[in-house]
Amino acid sequence: MKSRTFLLLSLIFALLQGPFLPPVFSEGILLPFFVPHQPVKKLLPSLFLSGIFFDLFQNQTLGVTSLLFLAFAGLFIFLGNQLNFRKPVFLLISILAVNLLRAKIVFGTFPF
């Protein structure tokens, strides 16, 4: 997935999530697919901007989601040598972790 695609999807999901989409953090699902395959120079600004978009359009304090994305990116990069995130079980765990953590930290409640 290209950085521009990831940013565009961030923008769209951030706009649609409140009024239209069900309360599922869609970007969190894309994160494990995007992070392992990007060079760091393109990855980090994309994650930072994507987090800013989410916080801005969902009326949350700016920077929170960016910090979370960057933290997860760091984890993926650090564990990427030990774990293969293409395997479904690791992918599922990382998606769940991103979703639950963001929902709890940003919205104060789990999405279920």
Partner: protein
């Protein structure tokens, strides 16, 4: 070279991390309100129209939508709320009826008497109209409780569907034999006939040899009506001219405050 790239990545990572913390700090202090305002001006109309179009667009997919469950739940809650409000209203009426019954139990009435409650729905021209869960017979006495005593209100005249017509003792149609008792001692003072006269009560045909005083109790004698039911109090004794004397009897029932009465089904 490899180590160099790693260092660059690490520095970039630290930079963006710290920059995010900095942005978080600025926004939490309210220093980015201008940026938020600018973005809100663009996104709010978009999100509003998306929200308004949501119902139309998502209706075909409502089977999968969580909002449909919430709408169903909301409808169920509204229905249950209506049902509970109705129950609450019934309970309040029962509570009031119960309170009246307790009051009546405190009155000095024989334990062998039996009563059925009835609710007053209207009163007009010396008549009151009741509703009850049973069908009374014509002539059945209707009482209420006052000052720890059973007080005669009137008698059942007719039953019209679910409504019971009761002729008050102050009606021109009402006539019964009564006994006059001393209010303090309860001693019998006199006997006479009580008649209703256009909203008032009049005691007639009391022998002049018998003494009646203002404040004396007038109670039923037991002919055609349960005995010792309070009908009223002597309010004025007229000057006597002949064999009999007459007196005005005060009607003790406040018709405006009458909500529940009791039909005496057995005495």
């Amino acid at each position: 070279m490899g180590a160099g790239r790693k260092d660059t990545s690490l520095y970039l990572f630290i930079f963006y991390f710290l920059f995010s913390i900095f942005i978080f700090f600025l926004d939490s202090r309210g220093m980015l309100i201008g940026l938020r305002g600018f973005v809100d001006r663009i996104t709010t109309p978009v999100q509003t129209s998306l929200f308004n179009s949501r119902k139309v667009v998502l209706r075909p997919f409502s089977v999968f939508s969580l909002s449909k469950n919430k709408e169903d739940e909301s409808a169920k809650l509204r229905e249950e709320n209506g049902r509970l409000l109705s129950k609450l209203s019934n309970m309040e009426a029962l509570e009031e009826e119960n309170e009246r019954a307790r009051h009546l139990l405190g009155a000095s009435l024989p334990a062998s008497w039996r009563f059925e409650p009835a609710r007053v729905v209207s009163n007009f021209a010396s008549r009151i109209y009741l509703t009850a869960d049973f069908e009374p017979k014509q002539g059945m006495p209707v009482i209420t409780s006052q000052e720890k005593s059973g007080v005669l209100v009137g008698q059942v005249e007719s039953v019209l569907g679910k409504k019971i017509e009761v002729v008050l003792s102050t009606s021109d149609l009402f006539k019964t034999t009564v006994i006059v008792r001393d209010k303090e001692t309860g001693a019998r003072r006199a006997a006479g006939i009580l008649v209703g006269q256009a909203g008032r009560l009049k005691l007639e045909q009391v022998l002049t040899s018998e003494t009646v005083k203002e404040g004396d109790m007038v109670v039923t004698s037991g002919e055609g009506l349960p005995p010792e039911l309070l009908v009223g109090f002597i309010s004025k004794v007229f000057e006597n001219h002949g064999t009999f004397q007459e007196a005005e009897v005060g009607y003790p029932v406040d018709l405006g405050a009458l909500d529940f009465v009791f039909l005496v089904t057995k005495y």
